[in-house]
Amino acid sequence: MPFLRFCRAFLLRPLAKEPVRAGLTALAVALGVAVVLAIELAGRAAAGSFHASLETLVGKNDLEITALGGVPESLYAQLSSLPYPLHLTARMEDFAVVKPGGEVVPLVGLDLVAQAFDREDASPAQETSATPLARSPSPAEWNASVWVGPGLARAPGEMLRLQVNDSEADYRVAGVFPGNSDAPQFRRAVVMDIGLAQRLLRRAGRIDRILVRLPAGQDAAKFQALLSREFPGLLVDRSGARTNENRKMLAAFRWNLRLLSYIALIVGAFLIYNTISVSVVRRRREIGVLRALGATRAQVLFAFLAEASLFGLVGALAGIPLARVMAAAAVRMLGSTVESLYVSSAPEPVALTPGTIALGLLAGLVVALLSALLPALEAARVAPVEAMERGGREYQAGVRKGRDAAVAVLLCVAALAASLAPPIGTTPVFGYLAALLMIAAAALAMPAIVAGAMAASGILMRRSGLGGLEALLASRSLAASLRRSGVLTAALATAVAMMASVGIMVSSFRRTVEDWMNQQLPADLYLSPAVPPAADRHPTLDPDVAAIVARVPGVSAVGEFRAYSTSYKGLPVTLGVSDLSIVARTGRLNFLSGDRREILSQLAGNDAAVVSEPFANKHRVRPGDSIELPLGDRTVPFRVLGVFYDYGSEAGLILVDRAALQRYLPVGPPSNLGVLLAPGADPEEARRSIVRALEGRRVAIFLNRELRAQAIRIFDRTFAITYALEAVAILVAVVGIAGALLAVVIDRRRELGLLRFLGASQPQVRRLIVFEAALLGLLASLAGLAQGILLSLILIYVVNKQSFGWTVQFHWPLALLAAGLSGVYLATLLAAVYPARAAARLVPIEVIHEE
């Protein structure tokens, strides 16, 4: 094809002459694509597994019925006797810890008698996919036997040691049920008889979930409404509702990560823009000649777009396998975050599907084409005569900087307006827009900033001799090539801004959480079942533990806390039950408004609740409102007395008094205990005494400071991935700077050769290039820091607040910023090493005679 031959001659050959520079641009794109794709893949693998959790062990059902604290067995009996053709399956659901090893696996209690009867009329297909048991158990096996998935690699007859809540025991493996590719977690589940599960989980008389299968052709919505009406205390949901709830919860988390990952791609876009711009400037004369020889504007435009597409395509192709590697690392970080903050899950394997490969290719190509569009259009507008004039291009870049700065101011105003707009649902669409507008404004303002800064630094260097001649030449050179230096500074500044803003946001959040924990954790010791923590798992302690601990010498009071996972208006939430009179006496619950003592005194024994800030923000609940909680056999309105600061759960926490809840539900054993010691008692000694008193039980005992340290560890682990994303964005920018400095060396080789004629030594030429990088790095760091501070305000007060509902106090992480900026600066200087060496090695007598 003539056009392809033209592209090969006009574009590919020049690129092949500078393989390092072309390679660095493609590498920048590859890193950008890789990080975007890795976050997508890791997000799916880490979060995608939750939909395959407990509820997928049930086979195909239409409705599911749950209730706070479990469905009373009496209601199950009533449901069974309804005159409707419903097929009911009762289930207990929790988690067990496999010993030794400590793997947390789903634990399911099934009515094995009913299952055995069901099986007789089930088809073989249903046996393997709809129900876990391939073989009917004998009643004698039920009380000490379990059936396991193939993933646990146990053979029938082997013993399996399991910890359920705080008790450990051995169970005989009675059988292995078949695997199910649709539910990976199913492969590692443990099934036991419902009666045994109820006993172990201390939920006698209660069923966790009732699965309802309707006859074919029946309307599920009709039955959902019917059952909800007849049993107001029950939560009747369509099958899979919990998956959707969790999906909604995770959406904000994943969106924020996704957007952070796109920053690396944006930095890559700046660099493609720069590469194509350099191409256009360098080949201006050639473009003029081509136009004079009959090339159309469209041909020139498509030629440069083809060059950009090549970078996009090569970058994407290299980025896709890189993403696979990065995703494997990211999924470990994300998996633990999802587990700690959202829902029990086990990461699925990272899978590169045709869809994700297409996403990677699309991201590379779209970013490449969009970023190349402006310089390509500019190339198409080159008039044959104009192309023969040297220096015209830089002149244009110079005169446009005022106009661009004015547009930047307008974009800043638009960003401010967007930051004040409310979210759409719980998605801070306008917050994201404000951040993007801010980045665009900074990029547009950069030529003016570079020109101003270089003029000022030129005067300073001239007068003070600071940095010597090389620094002065570097500063003049940057000011003279605003198009190039502006884009490079913008690229690096964007990466620095991301680092600074996320750093400020995370450390502000961390400090806020630390302050909150200092206020909110008044007890000296905390006890909970010794199982790995997860946001939706609330294993319980033996009922007698509190009494045992209370008798330990040195213990002055024991507060019990019971947590239930439930949902409110389609979103998961934790209901916390405690003796609020103790909280009023010892706790330091802080409210957004109102008097703490007055609120807590009104709570005691009344149908009233206090809710956490994320809950209030998600559900638009304010003090004085009423929230309806389905309890037992009815729905009970609870008046909201106050909203308290809480950073323990994004889903939100509703706190009610134990005495109030007990009117509707038997509040079972506690999930946690808080132990207050008598004045002067030694916490370490008290812990040893408690350990002795609770010998044989699997209870974790934390000192106050240990609990805080553990929380901070979880916090740090949660945000580790953001630092990894920042590092990639910085790497992309630094790679870009190395490539761009190489271009500078190539473009200015005649000037560098001249300097050697005039007496410059090789070290002086090297220093000149390093000074350019140093000035560029300094300017980008300062501009990026300023931009980052503004972005952090958007992240803290808009994006974070609207996404998660937390109030975060602004905090300056000076040490972190200093370390981060120093790292970036050092990396920028290192990026200049190779181009500087290349500059020093230029042979002056060759370059001075080049045309």
Partner: protein, 225 residues
Amino acid sequence: MSVLRLENVSKDYSTGGRSVPALENISLELAEGEFVTVVGRSGCGKSTLLHLAGAMDLPTSGRVWIDGVTTSGLDDPGLVRLRREAVGHIFQSFELLPTLSVAENVELPLLLAGRSGARARALECLAWVELAELAARMPHQLSGGQMQRVAIARALVHTPKLLLADEPTGNLDTVTSNVILLLLRRISRERATSILMATHSLELIAAADRSIHLRDGRIEPLGTR
């Protein structure tokens, strides 16, 4: 003592693994204040000769003395030092740095050498080429002749003993070329600076103290073709 002496100098370049002679057995001497032109067709070795004379390159064989110092055996810092002290360059395309003002361009060799009093000396040289009033201008604000005079001021700013000029009037009209010619004559006479100049200009050849004719890398007696 001669300012420049070349003794049996040859220079070979390697092209595609093949050695191509650029200069063969050249011997040449320039006395103080002497104005010598080098003439010959393109590719005859004029530029190579100037590069060897300016310590920008080393001969394959033979020796070059600049102001009594032989370039052979000098490492890069040594060659740089020699250039800074003894050699000034003038180019056909002026080669002013577009980002620096006229005065900054002129003082550049002194600044690169780390010498003090650069600005005063630059202004002095600009006054000598009668461009003192343009010191603050940028190169793109000058005419071609003015740019070459600035380039001459830059070449003189560190008072070199040897001035090397490669086609200094090649990009100028006749009137301006004459101005440059007069300036170069003044340099050799008033400042006793030796000039070795590659040129095609008959006026420059006529104005020189003597001319050497290069053909295929060898010196030919004038008049032989």
